[in-house]
């Protein structure tokens, strides 16, 4: 049997991923899985793909881990300066446009699919999808990553406007769980971030808290715990 010889080591660190953001009555909820892969090896089973840009704007990252980390770092830095110069909280639209600018102008070098979502007093909760080429699309809900392919039908059928916070969070968690069930490159835990006028709330749903679907067996006792 051949030694691995580090072939997979030189594969780019990518986030197979399922990411999602939805508007609900008071703001937005962002959701993501937590699996980062290098080839077929799971490099990080508990990564956080929802990154903060400002106090009121967050970004979901999918695609190349390095590219999205660098883009988020730049945009966070620009928004920091912008907030100081503006004297007010930055809007979600501004944040999304900055991300779009970087994604579009560097389209040949980047492999990054991102969703920018947050709350500001002018537009309330907003979700902006920024897929591979650098398009900017404001949408009531947006999904991305390799696992999103399995969600289009479900989202079209099940999404309703003005859901309550609990309804919307259950909706997000169910969607990500469905994608994890079918997509090998998505897995781990489901992380959600809720942003509204009152602030930000982070939540975390481990494997045993996720809904079960067709032919899935309930987890039972965790063998890693004593």
């Amino acid at each position: 049997m051949e030694p691995m010889a580090g072939g997979w080591m030189s594969a780019a660190h990518s986030m197979g991923t399922t990411i999602l953001a939805v508007e609900y009555d008071e703001g937005v909820i962002l959701g993501a899985d937590s699996r980062t892969t290098t080839g077929v090896y799971v490099a990080n089973r508990a990564s956080d793909k929802i990154t903060q840009l400002t106090d009121n704007v967050y970004i979901c990252r999918s695609g190349s881990a390095a590219d999205t980390q660098v883009v988020s770092d730049y945009v966070r830095y620009f928004l920091n300066q912008h907030t100081i110069q503006l004297g007010k909280e930055a809007t979600v639209k501004t944040a999304a446009n900055l991300v779009k600018e970087l994604a579009y102008q560097n389209k040949s070098f980047l492999q990054a699919g991102m969703i920018v979502a947050g709350w500001d007093k002018y537009d309330g909760g907003s979700v902006y999808g920024i897929p591979l080429g650098g398009t900017l699309l404001r949408l009531p809900f947006s999904s991305g990553g390799s696992g999103s392919s399995y969600l289009y039908g479900f989202l079209d059928q099940a999404w309703r406007p003005n859901m309550s916070k609990d309804e919307a969070e259950r909706f997000v968690v169910k969607s990500i769980a469905l994608a994890i069930a079918r997509d090998g490159a998505s897995g781990g835990v489901v992380r959600t971030v809720t942003v509204n006028a009152h602030g930000v709330e982070r939540n975390f749903f481990a494997g045993d808290k996720l809904p079960l679907f067709h032919e899935e067996i309930s987890p039972g006792r965790n063998p890693l715990l004593a």
Partner: protein, 270 residues
């Protein structure tokens, strides 16, 4: 009219003269020399009082072990160390470079270096080279904000984790960590788990071998434990040592007396 070719002196820069010859030789079956890589198992974990970094000590050039006891835990700052996997030249040079930058930064800020500073310097350098600098690092240290452990990949992405493994032996080491890691371990427990993880790499991965190096970093300081465990001793030593020849006679001739200074100054002698 004869065509004359004028030989201009080279303008500088890389000379491509030998590239055609190299390509020809390769097509005839000659092998290009391989890069020296650290096949490697490197790990890090966060314990109650700080971080512990561990590494094996084998360096390979293709299938040959070129160094049986190399050092893979590199110094970045008095409170920050970094294990390196990938091409040995890349890991050595990128850690040396960031170590110099951190020292200058310490003079400019009059403060102890922070792990996130080292992380940002490494990640921006590696991202700029788009993965061509083949350095996969486990960066750990303790600063004013607490203990930190990060995994840095050649393309410039980073992960912040309570335990991390990298290198060709990382799967073997990760199996040990996933089974035995607990939050808030003591130093002794942490060292035991780290050694077990590196040994898993040493014995089950062909790219890793020889000894276990450790570095324990806490708020109070650091302990660099070179060759903490040596599970692969040389088994063929002879207690009296080896004598391959007996010395028949020896003659030492000093060459200095044969040099006469005719013109100019003699060299300074120490």
């Amino acid at each position: 009219m004869t065509k004359t070719a004028i030989d201009l002196p080279p303008k500088g820069g890389f000379s491509f003269d030998l590239c055609r010859r190299n390509a020809f030789l390769e097509s005839q079956g000659a092998k290009m020399p391989k890069f020296r890589k650290t096949g490697t198992t490197i790990v890090g974990l966060v314990f109650k009082d700080g971080v512990i970094l561990g590494a094996d000590t084998r360096a390979t050039e293709g299938e040959i072990v070129c160094d049986k006891n190399c050092e893979k835990i590199h110094y970045l700052a008095p409170n920050i160390y970094c294990c390196g996997a990938g091409t040995a030249a890349d890991t050595e040079n990128v850690t040396d470079m960031v170590s110099s930058q951190l020292e200058l930064h310490r003079y400019a800020t009059s403060r102890e270096s922070r792990v996130v500073t080292a992380l940002t310097m490494l990640k921006s350098h590696l991202f700029g080279y788009q993965g061509k600098v083949s350095a996969a690092l486990v960066l750990g240290g303790v600063d004013v904000t607490g203990p930190h452990l990060h995994a840095v990949y050649p393309h410039g992405s980073t992960d912040t984790l309570p335990f991390a493994t990298m290198g060709s032996g990382s799967l073997a080491a990760m199996a040990v960590f996933e089974s035995r890691f607990k939050e808030g371990m003591t130093k002794e427990q942490g060292i035991e788990v780290v050694c077990a993880a590196i040994c898993a790499g040493i014995f089950n991965d062909l790219g890793s071998g020889s000894n276990v190096d450790l570095c324990v970093i806490t708020k109070g300081g650091k302990e660099y434990l070179r060759n903490y465990q040596q599970p692969n001793p040389r088994s063929y030593t002879h207690s009296k040592g080896y004598h391959f020849t007996t010395i028949l006679s020896s003659k030492i001739r000093s060459l200095r007396n044969h040099v006469r200074v005719v013109e100019g100054d003699a060299m300074e002698e120490e």
